[in-house]
């Protein structure tokens, strides 16, 4: 007698939550507004998530999983840092162009002291940065002085911040271009070189 759960509704909830958290902040994104945007009853959200915090926390984890998953795939195929950074920045730009709310969502919550990266993703990100560091020091693309912490800042935080400075139109009102992508890759590679 098990009825089918309408997956499109769950998707709409996720999309609405992401959009509203970006626009109004976590506190400003009310459950009733999320439900209204998703065209779903208020109570329906509690079928999948125990609380609003749970919903948003899970969404953040999903988005981070997407990034680490992508990075892991890229690292298997590549033997130089340049070969990892280029598709990684490509991925950020693709996300920024096709799902701008999603990259803003990550950005908003990664900077929120109430949310933190869950232990699982934390471990994976750690491992990936250490791996990058090893490869880069082998190929001499990364200076010896650097630690995994700096690799994280240069390869994850810097590109995301570049995109957000553009979104906020702080220095330029241009939309992200191919040239910008090249600039970001060049800056990352230059910074890693030391």
């Amino acid at each position: 007698m098990a009825k089918v759960i309408d997956e499109s509704k769950l998707l709409r909830i996720k999309e609405a939550a992401i959009e509203l958290v970006v626009q109004m902040g976590y506190g400003g994104a009310s459950i009733s507004a999320i439900a209204r945007h998703a065209n779903v009853a208020v109570g329906y959200l509690y079928r999948f998530y125990e609380s609003k915090y749970d919903l948003v926390s899970d969404l953040l984890d999903d988005k981070l999983k997407d990034i680490t998953g992508h990075l892991e795939v890229m690292m298997v195929q590549c033997s130089t840092i340049q070969q990892v950074i280029t598709p990684l920045v490509n991925y950020y730009f693709h996300l920024a162009q096709h799902q701008p709310h999603h990259i803003r969502f990550i950005y908003t919550l990664i900077n929120d002291y109430r949310f933190s990266i869950l232990p699982d993703q934390h471990q994976r990100i750690h491992g990936l940065c250490r791996q990058l560091l090893l490869i880069g020091q082998e190929t001499r693309e990364i200076a010896d002085v650097f630690t995994a912490e700096e690799i994280y800042l240069i390869t994850v935080i810097y590109p995301v911040e570049f995109i957000n400075v553009r979104f906020k139109q702080l220095f330029s009102e241009q939309t992200l271009s191919e040239d910008d992508k090249v600039r970001v890759v060049r800056l990352c590679m230059g910074a890693l070189k030391g």
Copy 2:
């Protein structure tokens, strides 16, 4: 008949607002909680600020003014980029060590899409970055390919993000040290070199 406005109360309100916005986010920092923390009546806040948004927005502007003010002073005395970056990073670290809430506050709101840098500070930051770019290209400390946008990312965003990755203990549980300061300066200078 003019009574004296108790400046310490206003200071306490500002301090409480900063602390609570950092801890609970803008939406979570209620006026009643701010007033309670500041040991002040709820209505008292409205003597100085028209609304909660006004209060927080003004505080952000104040903090940004502090940074741009410092940068302007530093640039008058210095003729090389190294001579600007070093005291600038020093200033960030000093803020991080002595007023951690304040740097977190800037960090939290600069990343919030509901708040933006007011036109006045915006202009000053623009001008400062352009000036840095000119000096750096003269002294060959900054590669020709860079724009003011990249100078901003490297000299403002990167150091602040470094500090916040530490605050969040993402890679290291160490508190900020003199060695870290040297690392940040080195990374900034290296990145600017291209």
